[in-house]
Symmetry: C2
Subunit: 239 residues, 2 copies
């Protein structure tokens, strides 16, 4: 049986992992936020800064993984404690990928520096990234508080992100059709919006991991998923 002392230090280790996840979440959100700022304000210097920052999240993920495996080996936790540690490994991987999305956006911001689209597009893009990051922050906070209702609400809201993504996708296609000089820049912007849509998917992944950690079972597989631009047919944009 575990002594009071062991239990206390085990709790400290779990708290440490939770703290690291929260830090990763904050950093990932900040990279993504500033990468979109680099596009909106056409600031390639900011973009270059961000590209270098991503490695911090790669290191954080590895640190969390190694610590988590150490804790499993040392404490041999059961049931919810074990799920919590495995969940930490999964969530850190999602957050590392969110950081990659930010880095990817920053790289494209640097490439398209000097090109501009109608200002309405940039306001939509800012609203879009704000929504995606709200989803991510909400699921991380809901998980920290083990609030199952809020976790499930995040999964249900993913459809809103997909709808905004599809409309931005259409908008960019029309700019490309209107003037072929926009094609390369708008293509990079298409990938940027796709990256933001994928942040929503990662928030959904985290919600599913959180659901599993708390309940011991996964939510139903049929959840609103990802990209609906497949529904963007051939006629609409080219006419």
């Amino acid at each position: 049986m575990l002594t009071q002392h062991t239990v206390r230090s085990f709790d400290r280790e779990l708290d440490y992992l939770a703290k690291k996840i929260a830090e990763m979440g904050d950093h990932a959100c900040s990279i993504v936020e500033r990468s979109v700022k680099a596009i909106v304000q056409d600031d390639y210097r900011l973009a270059d800064e961000l590209i270098a920052e991503d490695v911090i999240l790669d290191k954080a993920e590895r640190e969390i993984d190694e610590k988590a495996i150490l804790v499993i080996a040392r404490r041999q936790p059961m049931a919810v404690d074990l799920r919590e540690i495995i969940g930490t490994i999964r969530i850190s991987s999602d957050l590392e990928r969110v950081g990659d999305m930010g880095k990817n956006i920053a790289k494209r911001a640097a490439v398209i520096a000097g090109t501009r689209q109608p200002s309405s597009f940039y306001s939509s893009l800012e609203a879009f990234v704000a929504l995606a990051l709200r989803q991510l922050n909400e699921v991380l906070d809901a998980y920290a508080k083990h609030s199952l209702d809020r976790i499930n609400a995040v999964r249900e809201r993913d459809g809103t992100i997909d709808a905004m993504y599809t409309s931005l996708f259409r908008e960019l296609l029309t700019y490309m059709v209107k003037d072929s000089h926009n094609i390369t820049a708008c293509t990079h912007l298409l990938f940027c919006t796709k990256n933001i849509e994928r942040i929503g998917d990662h928030a959904t992944n985290i919600a599913e991991t959180a659901h599993y950690v708390i309940t011991g079972s996964y939510p139903l597989l049929e959840r609103p998923k990802g990209d609906h631009t497949y529904e963007v047919g051939m006629r609409k944009e080219v006419s």
Copy 2:
């Protein structure tokens, strides 16, 4: 101490997980292969079949995770055994995402049905997906045989995939510039090629997980990574 009997059944459990990973790998490759076939042969019926198949990989991932966590809880393995099981959880998540790439390509194949690009493009696309899947199969086989040299070779070859991706990216942009009626179809094809490039990234992720399982430490962070189309500047394509 573990008895002979416990050791044998533990080995059986590890073998079971390895078998499941191999099955997931085969299925993921098959979905991706056929999704590209659906584009090349303009076969939207095949595309529709594939969209339904992806759920099999989602279920396989969850089955592997639950089994892996059960094995950790029951056997409380140490060192390399524990890393092997955690590695299984990571690799199954990469393979599930590879299946998603195939599903995504299939959805786009269905949307662009009836549109054609120059036949040279389709041959390049087939060569590209063959290369990405070769990388994936190689890393899975190298991991099954715990061959560190072959695992590291996979990481080093990732650059070839990026180079092919960049040239397909340029090619598609030129079709879009040439005729605005190509823009929507080529945009979907851009995302398809991006998905294939990401399969290469997943092969690299698996190589890193494999390296960690076998050696207990990760390879250096600075590895050739992902997408180099950021280097596709503004002038080249629009002139």
